[in-house]
Amino acid sequence: MRSGSVDLLVVDDGAALRGYDCRDVVRVEEVAGEPGGYLVRLGRLGSPREVACREVLGSVALSAREIRPVPEVLRERITGEKPWAVGLTGQGMYLLY
C-alpha cells in the first residue's frame, strides 16, 4: 500500500463489483462443487467475516482522489453490509467494503 492509496481485492458478487482492502483479506477459497464460486475470508484488520462471490477479478490500487463518499440516498437504501466508499476509476466503479 502506498501513501494516500488503498490496494483492493476486487470481486464480482454476481450483480456488482466489490472491493475489499487487501490488508483485511485472510484467505480466498474456491468453493468445492460450485464452479466460479469463491469465498473470501476477511478479518485481518477487523472482525472476521466471509463473503461469497462469483469471481475474483484481482487487485487494484486506488488513490485517494479515486475514492468518493457513498451517496446518502444509496446508503439509506442498502440492507446488510454497507459500503464505506465508492472507488471511481477509468475502468469502472467499485463499492468498497
Binding site: 456488482a16 444509496l74 439509506e76 466503479m93
Partner: protein, 195 residues
C-alpha cells in the same frame, strides 16, 4: 348643442385650444392615463399577491403519465451512461453513475411511484433521461422516459393531490398542476429522496 356648450366652458375659463382639445382636457387625459397605468400595475401586484410568486416546473413523463418537479430542486438533466449495479440495495436503486467525476445514485422513479408493481428486470435506460434532484443535502438521479419542457405557473395553480391517487402514493406529491391542458402530479423532492 353639445359642442357649443363645451366651447362656452373653454371661453369662461380662458383656455381655448386650436386643436379642439383644451389643455385642461389634455391634463385630465394625462391624469387618467397615469391612473389607468397605476391601476393596471396595482391589479397585477394584487393578482400576484393572490396567486403567489410564479413557479418554474420541469415537466416530464413516465409512459403517458405526466409529472413535474420544481426547477429549484433540479440540478441537471442527463442522458444515462454506464450504471454500476449495487448489491443489497432497494429495488428502486438502479445503481451508481459517474456524473462528471461525482458518484450519482440513480433511482427508478417508476418503482418509487408504483412499489407494488415491481418487475424482475431493472428498467432499461436507453433513450431515457435522468433528472438530478437535490433537496435537503441529498441528491439523486431519477430515471424518466421523457423530459417535456419547463412550465411557468403561478403558485396558486398548484391544487391538492387528486383524491383518485392511491394514499400510499399521495405522500410523494406536493399537489397537482394543470399544465398544457392536462393534470400532472407535482412531486415532492423530499418524499422522493427519502425512503
Amino acid at each position: 348643442m353639445r359642442n357649443g356648450a363645451a366651447n362656452t366652458v373653454f371661453e369662461v375659463i380662458g383656455m381655448v385650444s386650436t386643436s379642439g382639445i383644451s389643455p385642461l382636457d389634455e391634463a385630465r387625459g394625462e391624469l387618467l392615463r397615469e391612473a389607468s397605468i397605476d391601476a393596471e400595475a396595482s391589479g397585477r401586484e394584487k393578482a400576484q399577491e393572490e396567486s403567489g410568486p410564479a413557479r418554474s416546473l420541469l415537466v416530464f413523463f413516465l409512459g403517458s403519465e405526466g409529472f413535474a418537479v420544481d426547477l429549484v430542486h433540479v440540478r441537471k438533466v442527463l442522458r444515462p451512461s454506464r450504471i454500476a449495479c449495487v448489491s443489497g440495495a432497494a429495488p428502486e436503486v438502479l445503481g451508481l453513475m459517474n456524473c462528471q467525476g461525482e458518484v450519482l445514485c440513480v433511482l427508478d422513479l417508476r418503482r418509487i411511484l408504483s412499489p407494488g408493481k415491481e418487475t424482475a428486470q431493472p428498467a432499461a435506460t436507453e433513450g431515457k433521461f435522468i433528472v438530478v434532484v437535490q433537496h435537503g443535502g441529498k441528491e439523486a438521479g431519477f430515471l424518466v422516459d421523457e423530459v417535456r419542457d419547463v412550465a411557468e405557473l403561478p403558485a396558486s395553480s398548484v391544487h391538492p393531490v387528486l383524491d383518485s391517487i392511491d394514499p400510499s402514493r399521495a405522500s410523494l406529491f406536493e399537489g397537482t398542476v394543470a399544465c398544457g391542458g392536462r393534470f400532472v402530479g407535482l412531486l415532492s423532492p423530499s418524499a422522493c429522496l427519502n425512503p
